[in-house]
């Protein structure tokens, strides 16, 4: 898709937010799936940036828990060829306080990632190849946290049941940990209520439930609690935003590798 067409599409969707009924009446399952994905993206677009504070609780089958907390900043992609930029700075556990992970996502190529280690006073470029690896020992992988760009998937409408519409997303990235994701969408406000992740053998691996939705800036519905359950190991991780603000006025300079540690 060329850039002009993408911009035209974005403008069109801003002008007219489509209802789920409009999106699911005509077309093949693939066309309907893509239309829903684009509508989800369009409704999330234009928030500019996000600043938040996150508590993360990791638990295993025996019920023992570990805690992490970090601040999160996200800068929305500026154009169709760009990706989101994000900065995570850990507060806890105490031995990693100040450790920062900076990511520049790229919808086409490989993401760029830098790590700042305060104990070594060093900023290191790191490989973003391990997208399927666990984030800070949790049930979330980097792929789960950053892989929400609609362009990274093939889409297919699956079913509607009451108010819940299910679409299937097949990753274009052959290195993805998943064969597919099933998104369950609440049609009223076009909000994702949960996602089922299927491993490469086609077995259901994890379920992510989004809850505690709040409307920010009188427009954007954002979930403040994300619960990931691993169905194969019974481990779970809950991400809870204690604060989340949109449009805080961040600039691209806040996501420069040269600023890490300052």
């Amino acid at each position: 898709m060329n850039r002009a067409l993408l911009i035209a599409l974005t403008v069109a969707t801003v002008v007219h937010a489509k209802s789920m009924k409009e999106l699911t009446t005509t077309g093949t399952p693939e066309e309907k799936g893509l239309a829903i994905a684009q509508e989800l993206a369009a409704r999330n677009a234009g928030y500019r940036d996000l600043g938040g504070q996150v508590d993360m609780v990791l638990s295993d089958a025996s019920g023992s828990e570990a805690r992490r907390s970090f601040s999160l900043k996200v800068l929305e992609k500026a154009s169709g060829t760009d990706g989101d930029k994000s900065l995570i700075v850990f507060d806890a556990p105490a031995d990693v306080k100040g450790t920062a992970v900076l990511s520049h996502a790229s919808p086409e190529g490989e993401d760029e990632q830098w790590l700042f280690l305060p104990s070594a006073h060093r900023t290191k470029r790191i490989s973003a190849a391990n997208r399927t690896g666990a984030f800070a020992g949790s049930e979330f992988s980097f792929e789960d946290l950053t892989g929400n760009d609609a362009r990274k998937y093939g889409w297919k409408y699956v079913a509607s049941e009451g108010n819940i519409v299910t679409v299937e997303a097949t990753p274009r990235d052959a290195a993805s940990a998943y064969s597919k994701r099933l998104l369950h969408i609440d049609a009223t406000e076009m909000r994702i209520s949960s996602i089922d992740f299927f491993d490469r053998r086609g077995e259901k691996l994890k379920t992510l439930t989004y809850s505690d939705y709040k409307q920010l800036n009188e427009k954007f519905w954002r979930s403040h609690t994300w619960s990931m359950k691993n169905l194969q190991t019974s481990k779970a991780t809950t991400i809870r935003f204690t604060t989340m603000k949109l449009g805080t006025g961040l600039s691209v300079a806040d996501f420069a590798p040269g600023k890490l540690g300052n």
Partner: protein, 381 residues
Amino acid sequence: MACACASISTEIGGFVAADGRVFIEPPKYAGQAAGNGVSLVTEPRIEFKSGNSTLTLKPFYRLDPNDERRSHFDVREAKYRLSLEHFEFAIGSDVVTWGVLESYRPTDIINQIDFVDSFNGSAKLGQPFVELGWVGVASSFKLYVLPYFRERTFPGVRGRLRFPATLDVDHPEYESPLRQYTPSAAARYAFNFGDLDVGLCAFGGVSREPRFILELTSGNVAPRYDMSYQGSADAQLTLDALTLKAEGFVRLWTNQLQVFGGGGAGLDYTFYKVFDEANLTFAAEFVFDTRPLTGPITFFDHDAFAGARLAFNDVASTEINAGALVDVVDGATFGTIEASRRLGDHWRLTVTANLFFGTPGKLQTSFVRDNFGQLRVAYFF
């Protein structure tokens, strides 16, 4: 621990730790203590932030039962920073690291090594500085004025991990008549282009590496700090599982401007998820240095490094590191094995074994009887 009191936010961090050391063999030199025992160390950090301004304080103190010189205080960080969109200004004291290699970074020059704290050069003394910087998205330029010189720390007579002669650190010599008040300056331009990160650096001022001078009047050996002017470059190419790294410098040494160079190159390769979420990284590096025999002594004149790191990526952030740096000419070797894991939310245990091999008679092999094991129990707050 954060507090938002009248738009000033306060962050408190840092650690207090007990380092228990056991040396396997008795010491080599007269006057050395056995060196076994527990040393206490703390490095608290407090940060005040208001708008674009940040004030950071990070003092350091170690209490050592054996060597009075190893019991020492330092200000690792004490700085004010103004951070605007693309402009950076900072004044105070800090640690700045240059270079990309893992085993030893030949181009790293701004800070003095706290050698008495860590024989491998990983501990640095805070360097008084003024920084002016311009930071863009894919490039940055930083200029440092370094108005005061920090002398290298060395173990005392009773200390382990020392050279045959203890150094008369109270009577250092300088090439510059301004001695430790001789200003130095440094600059770094860094940019990234796709998978490639490059840094171009310059330094001029007092050499951080001393020569050792025999003082005929007292019979003592004193460190001498000559002038030094250096240009350097470092580059890293980050591919999927493979990272390629190189850094090198050309140095003009003393006011006679003797020329020598040095540097290194290496690669690391990571196997992801060797079991569960564990990643296994292998690293291989080579470092060299062409300095004249009359120059400051370096351990890293022609050395090869091989290392492995197993990061479990589990809840306790368990890690095992092993590496050996081998002089390819005489076989003198430093080997390290380290394992660490978190306990609960605030504790971290680290077990280290340090091994030295080599033929006696070289300065590099002064530590040949200093093989030791260390257990660090650290509480982070």
